[in-house]
């Protein structure tokens, strides 16, 4: 049953050190505001799960909060590498992190299986691929009908799923629209969830088959206008592509990264997100 909470309270009551946390959003609707609140609260020893780790995991990893990362593509989309993740993997700075690496197909299937209450996902995948040899969580099953050997991966069942959505109604029903990614699956697969939204409305005005999370599937809802920045929220504001490009320079240097995080995350508050999307608004 969804509770409406301040972001600070949602994070402190729902995410604990040592939890496995899926922050999802496939390019669209990435929950940056929650990640920054996790950093402010210094919640550590996290197992973070995310198909496309992106800037938020560069930041969480760079701040030393991550013990393990389950992922399928650790890049800055359209820009290049994630320099803080690289530094952790290549040089153990600021700490070493454990990697569990999959393909996109496997991660998507594993979330789907988690949402479906199954212990595993079955797919035709990893054929001839090297990840099979380095990830013991890639196994296989044999189809009892065709004899075909298919790949199997364990379902993802995070302690917490964190997503940013467009809006919620006053009961706590949540609407996601546009590139919906794996967010519905992540929330349904997780034990608990935090959903930040652009706004609360009287009526979702959703299409009959829209991607809606009923209020009783969500743990906490927090209004954070601009909470996906520099990602975007369809119909609200566009992707801040320059921010992604510029991040490459911030993340390239340990000192610059640390001072940037100090100024823009640790010493900042949740309200800054609404300012960050000024000038990026799109017409609804």
């Amino acid at each position: 049953m969804a509770k409406f909470l301040e972001l600070k309270d949602a994070v402190s009551s729902i995410i604990s050190s040592g939890d496995s946390v899926a922050f999802e959003g496939f390019t669209h609707l990435i929950p940056h505001a929650v990640a920054h609140e996790v950093i402010r609260q210094g919640i550590d020893e996290l197992t973070v799960i995310r198909m496309t780790p992106d800037l938020i995991y560069d930041q969480l990893v760079g701040m030393g909060l991550v013990k393990k990362m389950i992922f399928s593509y650790a890049g800055n989309p359209g820009v290049g590498l994630l320099r803080r993740v690289r530094d952790a993997v290549e040089n153990s700075w600021p700490r070493s992190i454990e990697l569990e690496e999959h393909s996109h197909a496997a991660m998507a299937n594993a979330y789907e299986a988690g949402a479906a209450g199954l212990p595993l996902a079955v797919m035709r995948g990893y054929m001839g691929a090297g990840l099979k040899d380095v990830n013991p969580n890639i196994k296989s099953i044999t189809c009892p009908f065709s004899g075909e050997e298919l790949a199997a991966v364990p379902a993802l069942r995070p302690d917490v799923a964190v997503i940013h959505a467009l809006k919620a109604d006053r009961k706590g029903n949540v609407l996601i629209e546009g590139i919906v990614g794996v967010q519905k699956e992540a929330v349904l697969a997780a034990k608990r969830s935090i959903v930040t939204v652009e706004e609360i409305v009287d009526d979702l005005e959703a299409h009959p088959n829209a991607c809606v999370l009923p209020h009783w599937t969500v743990t906490a809802i927090c209004v954070v206008k601009g909470g996906a920045h520099p990602s975007y929220a369809q119909g609200y504001y566009g992707r801040d592509n320059n921010y992604y490009i510029a991040w490459d320079k911030v993340a390239a240097d340990r000192d610059r990264f640390q001072s940037w995080m100090q100024e823009n995350v640790v010493a900042a508050s949740t309200n800054v997100f609404s300012e960050r999307v000024e000038g990026l608004e799109v017409n609804q």
């Binding site: 496939f26 359209g78 996109h104 054929m127 001839g128 090297g130 990840l131 380095v134 369809q234």
Partner: protein
Amino acid sequence: MSTLDFTPDEMMTIAASRALGNDDVCFVGIGAPSAACNVARLTHAPDITLIYESGTIGTAPEALPLSIGDGELCDTALTTVSVPEMFRYWLQGGRISIGFLGAAQLDRFANINTTVIGDYDAPKTRLPGGGGAPEIASSSQEVYITMKQSKRGFVDKIDFFTSFGHGEGGDHRQRIGIKTKGPTLLITDLAIWKPDPETKELTVVSLHPGVTKDDIQATVGWTVKFADKLEETPAPTADELKVLRDLKERTRIAHEGRKVERKGEVA
């Protein structure tokens, strides 16, 4: 650009675009593949279906997206599905005619590495990883690869098998149970390559205008095979160049975004 009125990069993109047809359903990677697919759509293949792994089906962006999931892709798509559905129904379902991949490292049998340089557990360079590529390589009916040639990229032995091309060549794909054709075309900044029908070794079949065999060998880490009848890639037409350059200009303007400085600005 001296005598020629186009860059090798433009030649690569345009040559790749020519390989695509109206009936193709392309799974589009970001970067060079995205440019090539959209040039095809804006020139000879207006009805081509472009699919990005973020879930957008039949998309027709005005400008090239920076990421695989820019809003523009959804705004112009026929429909947008969830990512699990994209990988289950559309890719694994065998509905993709052409999977378009790039690579950090490529070997002579079109196996691809985008995972690590060096040892997986103690890498010299940790690359982004495979993303959709392992299954794009096995589930698409055919795979086209596009990348710039360099000794660093065209290597004798890749450090990690991110996605399987033709393995050790010959019928290696079939032997491990893969039913699709795999890489059938490689388009670089210098040439067009195709796998030998028997050995599956990548073979240069067409040199781009002004490129020599020596230019090719100088950028490749193995002894290159050339087709007996080596062709010359037709230079970009004025129309092709205009479409590509207009697209890039629209992209530059679109990505410029907002100019105001604000709190939390990274630049």
